[in-house]
């Protein structure tokens, strides 16, 4: 469960609050429940599908479900989807570090450092990743919680009025981005075989709980950002959560001011985990797609490929930001919601079951 939260949270808190505020303005807080409901639906579909084939990953069973040719094709879309999210994470991370802290450091250096860490983690394996993540995730949520609480006095409730000034349309638009981010929990399609067979039945509950926690954290940030900055200001900020962290000011306790670097420590770790997870899922998916026995030989070449992609896919941060508002949500929702739903529907319709001997966890 921890894992599902952190893989979404790290990038979601970067751009999503301002993307939502850009569309929904003062009604951004209404967008998130919608997004949460959509995210819960996507998660439910994904977990159901994963549980139908508990010993296999999505790349392994799609050819059987959809037929060898289409199945392989769809499998490759999943491979690409995981790597796509991975290099999107790389770019987001380096853009923020470049903009806020390391102005003169070439972006490629920042990407390489993060990727090298991710590669190291991949060689260590999934278990190490999950254990460290437990520590980092809760520290991050704690840090966000403190940031919001420190600023709670500054939240002006009148910033949320008038409600539904421009009708429900903008609220729905504002829900698209966070909704698709919540759906990133579909990474479970690659991870299910590694979850203990005894824990697998509880995954539906765990993942839905993860979406709920994500929703609460994101809602907290959106309310704090709109309440403190006003809807217009919240919408124009590139990094609203960082702005919130920098906004902390308790005149009586000046020690808490200018502590955004502490928050960044957890955020950087969160980004690392997110990158590693999707990179892992992508590498494993490609290895299985190519019917390789081991995914490790693919780690370094793929690291180079996604680094190059992250560098060339977007021109600058303005493009990255509009991309994450206008293209990214639809692109990943296509895989998370449409494809995953399709596979599940076909599997149920054709009554396809796991191959004997492959059931259960490992």
């Amino acid at each position: 469960m921890n894992y599902a939260i952190s893989i979404v949270l790290a990038t979601a808190i970067l751009f999503v609050p301002s993307i939502t505020a850009e569309h929904a303005r003062q009604d951004a807080w209404l967008s998130l429940p919608l997004a949460g409901a959509f995210g819960a639906l996507v998660t439910y579909i994904a977990v159901r599908l994963a549980l139908r084939f508990p010993g296999e990953t999505v790349v392994q069973y799609t050819p059987r479900v959809l037929g060898p040719v289409i199945g392989k094709l769809v499998g490759f879309i999943y491979v690409y989807y995981y790597l796509f999210v991975a290099y999107f994470v790389q770019r987001e991370f380096s853009e923020l570090m470049n903009a806020a802290y390391l102005e003169r450091t070439p972006m490629i250096v920042i990407i390489i450092v993060l990727t090298a860490l991710a590669v190291y983690l991949l060689y260590q394996g999934l278990e190490v990743l999950c254990r460290v993540n437990t520590v980092v995730l809760w520290s991050m949520i704690g840090a966000i919680f403190l940031i919001v609480m420190f600023g709670i006095k500054e939240v002006r409730l009148e910033e949320f009025l008038p409600v539904l000034d421009n009708g429900p349309g903008p609220v729905i638009l504002g829900a698209v981005a966070p909704g698709s981010w919540f759906g990133e929990t579909t990474v479970i399609l690659m991870l299910m075989p590694f979850i203990l067979a005894t824990d697998q039945p509880r995954m539906v509950k765990f993942n839905l709980l993860a979406v709920l926690i994500l929703f609460l954290v994101l809602q907290m940030i959106v309310v704090a950002a709109v309440g403190q900055f006003g809807a217009e200001q919240a919408a124009t900020k590139l990094f609203p959560t960082l702005a919130l962290a920098r906004h902390v000011d308790i005149p009586e306790l000046p020690i808490f001011s200018r502590q955004d670097a502490v928050f960044m420590v957890f955020w950087v770790a969160g980004m690392l985990f997110k990158l590693t997870t999707f990179f892992y899922a992508g590498t494993l998916a490609l290895a299985q797609w190519l019917n390789l026995k081991d995914y490790r030989p693919l780690i370094l070449p793929l690291a180079v490929v996604i680094t190059a992609l992250s560098f060339h896919a977007w021109i600058d941060i303005a493009e990255l930001k509009s991309f994450s508002g206008e293209v990214f949500p639809f692109a990943i929702s296509f895989v998370q919601f449409f494809l995953t739903g399709l596979i599940l529907a076909v599997a149920v319709f054709r009554g396809i079951r796991p191959q004997p001997g492959k059931g259960g966890g490992t």
Binding site: A100, L161, G230
Partner: protein, 410 residues
């Protein structure tokens, strides 16, 4: 095994190369002692449309143990606790970089707390200059106060004082005392930008002045440390129409403005004593303000409602018998009327200036969004015609350590 050892050796060589090679290329290395921490930034207009930027940088050496010069016997003068650097530039950033030709350290803006605009520059409009501060990575938007000064920033930021020697730090300390009076506005950069962005809300900010020091005697007797000729004072508010300075609000008007903006956290209010002679001063402890808009027969009405005011009686010139509750009720009534007059004074001034600093338009937008859509285009013309009224309610909860005041034998 041999292969393993060769691999290890290769790894070691690679590590050496990477670590050694990266030594020379640390792009964003900054040492704390190489930085000049800017405390206050002031902008003034320069001829030919340029901007004059003044940055105040404290000298950390003078803070440690009061400064060496001060302890050394016979030292004639303390080291100056700060330096003011000034440069001219076509834009704010040009001017900031221009400062580097005189500043010995890399000027760093993350600790800056004051952004002071001269009145002249503010009259021309500050939109272009504000952009730099909003965009800046170093500037902390919440920790910076926006101020307007009628003085030349060179004078203002060089007013000497024996304590709180750095003028920027002194201004900041005065700002922290705002709750004692509520007679000047305190507006962070973040709040200022928010007001600029909000529909039906004009921005305002605090005002800082260098005044003639009233405590300085006509005949200066002290040779070493006379009272300085000037003193820094925060007083009133500056109202903006859009990003252009529109005019000043007096202290009383500012108090009314803060009531309407729900920003009152303290401050004294004096009313005539119910006993008929003398005055009574009440200290505000808390209170809430909000603007309630209404449209009646096509007329726009706005009521500033001040509720939950809790005050403490701190001084009564004539003896009052507070054991009788009607005396307190009379006082509460007088306090409420005085608060209403303050609010009306603020409303009248803002309507006269055509600057909706109270946020009357914003209140219409929030409560009557449909009607607002029709009036918002012409809001600057409509705003002065809105009928603004005030209604206040107050309670006096405390009266210090005495009930009747000093008793004097008959």
């Amino acid at each position: 095994m041999a292969g393993n050892r060769i691999a290890r050796f290769c790894l070691f060589i690679i590590a050496l190369l990477v670590i050694g090679g990266s030594m020379g290329g640390c792009w964003d290395k900054r040492e704390a002692e190489d930085m000049g921490y800017v405390r206050a930034t002031a902008l003034n207009s320069a001829p030919s449309g340029k901007v004059l930027l003044l940055a105040q940088v404290p000298n950390p050496a003078t803070f440690a143990g009061g400064g060496m010069a001060a302890i050394t016997p016979g030292a004639s003068q303390d080291a100056k606790a700060y330096r003011n650097f000034e440069a001219e530039g076509s834009t704010v950033f040009e001017a900031i970089r221009q400062l580097a030709i005189q500043a010995p350290r890399r000027l760093f803006w993350a600790q800056n707390t004051l952004i002071i605009f001269s009145e002249g520059l503010a009259r021309q409009g500050i939109e272009g200059h504000l952009d730099f501060f909003e965009r800046s990575v170093e500037i902390r938007r919440r920790l910076n106060h926006v101020l307007v000064t009628p003085n030349d920033p060179r004078v203002l930021l060089d007013v000497p004082a024996p304590h709180e020697t750095v003028p920027g730090g002194r201004i900041e300390r005065i700002i922290m005392q705002e709750q004692q009076t509520s007679r000047f506005a305190v507006v962070s950069l973040s709040a200022f930008l928010r007001m600029l962005a909000t529909e039906g809300q004009d921005a305002y900010c605090g005002v800082v002045r260098a005044q003639k020091n009233p405590a300085r005697p006509a005949l200066v007797q002290q040779v070493n440390a006379p009272e300085p000729a000037l003193t820094i004072e925060m007083s009133g508010a500056a109202a903006f129409r859009g990003t252009r300075f529109a005019g000043y609000l007096t202290e009383r008007e500012t108090q009314g403005l803060l009531w309407a903006r729900n920003e009152i956290r303290g401050g004294p209010v004096t009313v005539p004593s119910p006993s008929g002679t003398g005055r009574v001063t009440l200290d505000i402890l808390r209170g809430k303000g909000r603007i309630i808009p209404a449209i009646q027969d096509g007329r726009l009405l706005a009521t500033v409602e001040i509720t939950d005011v809790v005050a403490e009686l701190v001084q009564s010139e004539a003896p009052l018998d507070l054991t009788r509750s009607e005396v307190l009720r009379t006082l509460e009534h007088a306090l409420a009327r005085e608060i209403e007059r303050e609010v009306i004074a603020a409303a009248n001034k803002s309507q006269a200036l055509g600057a909706d600093v109270l946020g009357v338009g914003a209140a219409f937008h929030r409560k009557l969004p449909r009607e607002w859509r029709e009036i918002k285009e012409n809001w600057p013309e409509i705003f002065p015609t809105v009928e603004i009224t005030a209604s206040a309610e107050a309670t006096i909860r405390r009266m210090g350590f005495t009930l009747k005041g000093i008793t004097i034998k008959d």
